[in-house]
């Protein structure tokens, strides 16, 4: 039987099928154009680079396979220290940042000094270059020769990174807490919760969910900045690569280290993209097809 848009005998396609076929054709044509233009542009770029007079020297200095093979195991071992540092510092940052954020958002009069300290903490530590802070803590603290205070540069470097990043993360948390509508707190108080319970069970869970994408962005930045502990003489991936590069006059080991960082930061960045897209959808935004 013919639909409302059917034309004559059963051989004719319905309007619906015609439209679907046209859509498929458009899709295929778009894909073909994108693929062709990619091949032309990228292929052209590669051709220009590879045929340029300086290319052999560049390849020798930055993309030397023998150098890569020689240095990679040591760089990888150094990178394992980066990973461990990152995980420990990140955990410390998440806790410390939350404590500072809660201190800053507290309203009780008795907690005013705490609020003041938290404000000074975030202002100071965000305002100092991380590399300066790492240097200051890493060399300054051992110089005090205090008993019971660690002098291990790995520990001190990690502490400096935790101080610096917890200040950023505290501000992220605070933005999240402020973004929860006051009516949520009113509802929590109205059912009989205390101020602390309202924060713990109603405001914070919503705040943390909202700030996961920005928190992950700070994770990515931290993952890279872990390399800063190398200025304290800690032999992590960047330092290993640097030593190898300067003794062999070849920069390939540094590219190997860069590759390892990318292996962690790029997937993290994709996770952030997905979470942000998810958050947009959850807010009721409409996705417009390109």
């Amino acid at each position: 039987m013919d639909g409302p848009g059917g034309r004559g005998a059963g051989a004719a396609l319905s309007r619906r099928e015609v439209r679907a076929a046209a859509r498929r054709r458009r899709g295929r044509r778009g894909f073909a154009i994108a693929a062709a233009s990619t091949v032309v542009v990228l292929g052209g770029l590669v051709a220009v680079v590879v045929t340029s007079p300086g290319w052999p020297a560049v390849r020798e200095t930055f993309f030397s396979w023998p150098d890569f093979r020689r240095a990679f195991p040591d760089v990888l071992e150094g990178f394992w220290l980066d990973i461990r540092l990152f995980v420990v510092v990140e955990a410390a940052v998440l806790v410390l940042g939350l404590v500072v954020a809660l201190a800053r958002t507290s309203r009780a009069a008795a907690l005013f000094p705490l609020r003041l300290l938290a404000a000074v903490y975030t202002d100071l530590l965000r305002g100092i270059p991380t590399i300066l802070l790492v240097y200051l803590v890493g060399f300054g603290v051992p110089a005090l020769e205090l008993t019971g205070v660690p002098t291990d540069p790995v520990v001190l470097g990690a502490a400096a990174l935790a101080l610096s990043y917890s200040a950023y993360v505290a501000e992220v948390y605070r933005a999240g807490i402020d973004s929860v509508h006051p009516s949520q707190k009113a509802a929590a108080l109205a059912v009989g919760l205390t101020q602390v319970q309202a924060m713990r069970h109603v405001v914070l869970p919503q705040a943390v969910r909202r700030v996961i994408p920005p928190l992950l962005n700070d994770f990515i930045a931290l993952q890279k900045d872990v390399a800063l502990v190398s200025i304290l003489g800690v032999v992590e991936a960047f330092r290993v690569a640097q030593i190898d590069a300067s003794s062999n006059f070849n920069y390939t080991p540094l590219l190997a280290a860069a590759l390892l960082y990318l292996c962690v930061t790029v997937p993290l960045a994709r996770v952030v993209d997905r979470l942000q897209a998810g958050a947009r959808r959850a807010r009721g935004g409409v996705e417009v097809p390109a």
Binding site: S183, Q184, A186, L189, V191, G192, L193, Q197, H201, Q206
Partner: protein, 251 residues
């Protein structure tokens, strides 16, 4: 007989705006008092002040004969004895319907988890929400959300329930189901102070109607009298305006 709730000479200003200029009213046990009045007449403010979410400037609020607006008093203990339902529901979006309902009994009243849960399920079932227990609020219709909010307020067995324009944020076809719930509560003997724009509902359910105007109770009385023969010129004007805009005469 002392009233469950008594409000005497309550005043409240936000900055330069004097919202309440001396409110007096009482809600006896098992009775429902309706607060009517134009938007901005202070109905919501009064309810928030009674639940100690806002400080009053002068006057007193009494719960079972006890002054609860004493600034030295612990507001948390008072709020645990009252229930407040908001115009915009204010459900906790990160918690399931069941968790919304059990949060206060468990955290604020020390009820054991399992017991609070079984009571919550029974209460949800009573209001036709049993099948929604494990859903999150954003999956519910506005009417369902507001019914859950009412269940949440009831879960702590409050002495009195404060309802702040509980149907104003609802699509017209969802108003009825929420009003039916409130009618049911009235029949079961709940003491209620109800701010509302639904005049027909106020007429049905209230034992007394208070018309708020310019920060005071300008007129009060039995609903039949207020709606059929209002005396205060502002009450007359308000009721004329409300019936004209809704297009339906008062039942």
């Amino acid at each position: 007989m002392t009233a469950v709730l008594e409000v005497t000479g309550v005043t409240k200003a936000y900055g330069d705006v004097q919202v309440l200029r001396g409110i007096d009213l009482a809600v006896p046990e098992h009775q429902a008092v309706a607060l009517i009045g134009a938007s901005g007449s202070g109905k919501s403010t009064l309810l928030r002040c009674i639940d100690l979410l806002d400080d009053i400037d002068d006057g007193d609020v009494l719960l079972d004969g006890e002054v609860i607006t004493d600034p030295e008093r612990d507001p948390i203990e008072v709020r645990r004895r009252l229930g407040l339902v908001f115009q915009a529901f204010n459900l906790f979006p990160h918690l399931s319907v069941l968790r919304n309902v059990v949060l206060a009994p468990v955290r604020a009243h020390g009820v054991r988890g399992e017991e609070a849960e079984s009571r919550a399920r029974a209460l949800l079932a009573r209001f036709g929400l049993a099948h929604r227990a494990d859903d999150y609020p954003d999956r519910l219709s506005g009417g369902e959300q507001q019914r859950v909010a009412i269940v949440r307020a009831l879960a702590t067995q409050p002495r009195a329930l404060l309802l702040d324009e509980v149907t104003s944020a609802l699509d017209p076809e969802l108003v009825g189901e929420v009003l039916d719930v409130v009618r049911g509560l009235k029949e079961s003997g709940m003491t209620m102070l109800i701010a509302t724009h639904e005049m027909g509902f106020a007429r049905d359910v209230a034992d007394e109607v208070c018309f708020l105007h310019d920060g005071v109770v300008a007129e009060r009385g039995a609903p039949e009298r207020i709606f059929s023969a209002p005396e205060h010129p502002e009450t007359q004007r308000f009721l004329r305006r409300v019936t004209a805009s809704s297009g339906v005469p008062l039942r």
